[in-house]
Amino acid sequence: MNDFDRLIDSIRNDVPPVGEAADRVRAKLNEAAGANSLCGSFRADFAAYRTGTLAEGRRMLVDDHLHSCALCRREYAGVNAAKVVTMPKRAVARRWVLATVAAALTIGVGLAAPSVLDRVLTPEGPRATVASIEGTLVAVSSEGVKALTVGAAIEEAQEIRTGKESHAIVRLRDGSLVEMRERSELSIEEKWRSKTVRLARGSVIVEAAKQREGRLEVATADALVTVHGTIFGVSAGLRGSRVSVIEGEVRVEEAGADIAILHRGDQKTTNAMERTAVSEDVSWSQNSAKYLALLVDLRSVGEQISLLPLPGLRYTSSLINRVPVDSVVVTAFPNLTGMLDEAERIFDDKAKQSAAMAEWWQKSGAHNMREAMEHIRSTGIYLGDEVITALPLHGGRWFWPK
């Protein structure tokens, strides 16, 4: 037997026992089978639902199910799918053809420009460094496998993986932190104005630094998550992806689906990925206590702010007579400076009670919000209770009423 046959033999015989994986998969299949039979019963009613002949009670149940089940929504859309009819060609005037070609060329150049700039202006050097490792972190390439240590540089598109019972944190060039769960695999790509963490499998939690001009993305096989400064988790596997937001706002693009904007406490899954509680989704992190406390604190602050009294309805205006007579757009709104002061007091109070909140409120996490509040306040203190803006037809020329 030569080395090749010995190697093949070793692959054939060296198989670990299936162990607890069998029970885990069985439990998931049972869950899917339950959902499958439920979906089947609803799908049988789709035709009647569509024609409006379903009993009221059942119609409400189908309504509710369609709201919560993406697969059935797709199935229902298929039932409803409109037939595509080929329309006869219409004669097009020559000048329109020329105009269309010109527009296409302009758009083409516009679209090509960013990619050219990306090539020219892409920064050189490592994309990230290893900030901490517990267990094993390896870099894998066609040349082989190399164990990484703290401080190691991670190059463009270099694939890194955490081992079993291991986790690691890598720091991107802009200061964003990416925490990797055990058995996770990712690479980092950077262009002129974007950084992309490509998550092939496993889970990460990203603490995104404030993005000055560019953007930070996490890409999985079926989803693209874009952020500006926030904390969120992404998991990727064969069944799809799951995005959970701890703080801030992220935008999720999924092939063939509408763009979703997620906020604190929101979660989105793609394909057949299981949903889970957001708190559970970050429980593996070494900072899980901080993230969970932040989730609870921000929810509590949000509830307190929602209870703040809004300015009452206004039925008269002392400013409307001062609006230019040729105004085409007039908007009026209350001065919210007092309410913002109250909201800031609530944030300050919570920060005194909670270390996680204090860190978020004092550091970069709340930077954008504090900046916006300060901006509104700096103008608002010079205004009265009523604020009016007007857009006069003859821009800049004011016609005071006589």
Binding site: R12, A22, R26, L29, A33, T136, S166, R239
Partner: protein, 177 residues
């Protein structure tokens, strides 16, 4: 751990009976076939789930003439897809010691297997499937010919080409043939 296993086995199954029986009999076969191709227990678990979930959705478990052959092929093809989706090569992180000096030794030992698996995934789909069924799963040439609906000669030629390609890969890595 024992309690968890007992709880799972005592749980009322929601799966159709035929699928439940297939799972009980062949889950180990599917897992092992997937592991041999991917070299990763986590990926093999995902393949196990994917293969049976597909059967559940299609509702065809009761109509299979040769369930073992069907499941082996499904596992091999799903596992090959997993390896093709990888951007680089694989290393079995589940079985790798998480700490200590053994890490590098095992990385080096697994490296050749990793190269074989990567090269296998780069072969044409049918060629890779034939090689895996013959050499990893132990099917004879006539069985493979029946399973895939091709002639025995075609199986033999495909195997010869696959073997040559994989041996070339190893030769480049400095392994004596």
């Amino acid at each position: 751990m024992l309690q968890m296993a007992e709880a799972t086995s005592q749980m009322t199954s929601m799966m159709p009976r035929a699928l439940d029986d297939l799972y009980a009999e062949y889950h180990g076969t599917v897992f092992a076939a997937a592991y041999r191709v991917t070299g990763s227990a986590a990926d093999a678990e995902d393949v196990l789930h994917t293969v049976f979930l597909r059967l559940l959705k299609q509702g065809e478990a009761a109509q299979l003439n040769n369930p073992e052959g069907y499941l082996r092929r499904a596992a091999v093809n799903a596992a090959l897809d997993v390896v093709r989706m990888r951007r680089g090569a694989d290393v079995d992180l589940d079985r790798m010691p998480s700490r200590g000096r053994g890490v590098m030794d095992q990385l080096q030992n697994d490296d050749l297997k990793r190269q074989i698996r990567t090269a296998l995934a780069e072969l044409p789909e049918r060629t890779a499937e034939v090689f895996v069924l013959r050499h990893f799963e132990g099917h004879k040439n006539p069985e493979i010919a029946r399973m895939l609906g091709i002639s025995q000669i075609a199986v033999a030629v495909t195997l010869h080409r696959a073997r040559k390609k994989l041996q070339d890969t190893l030769r480049k890595a400095g392994v004596q043939q």
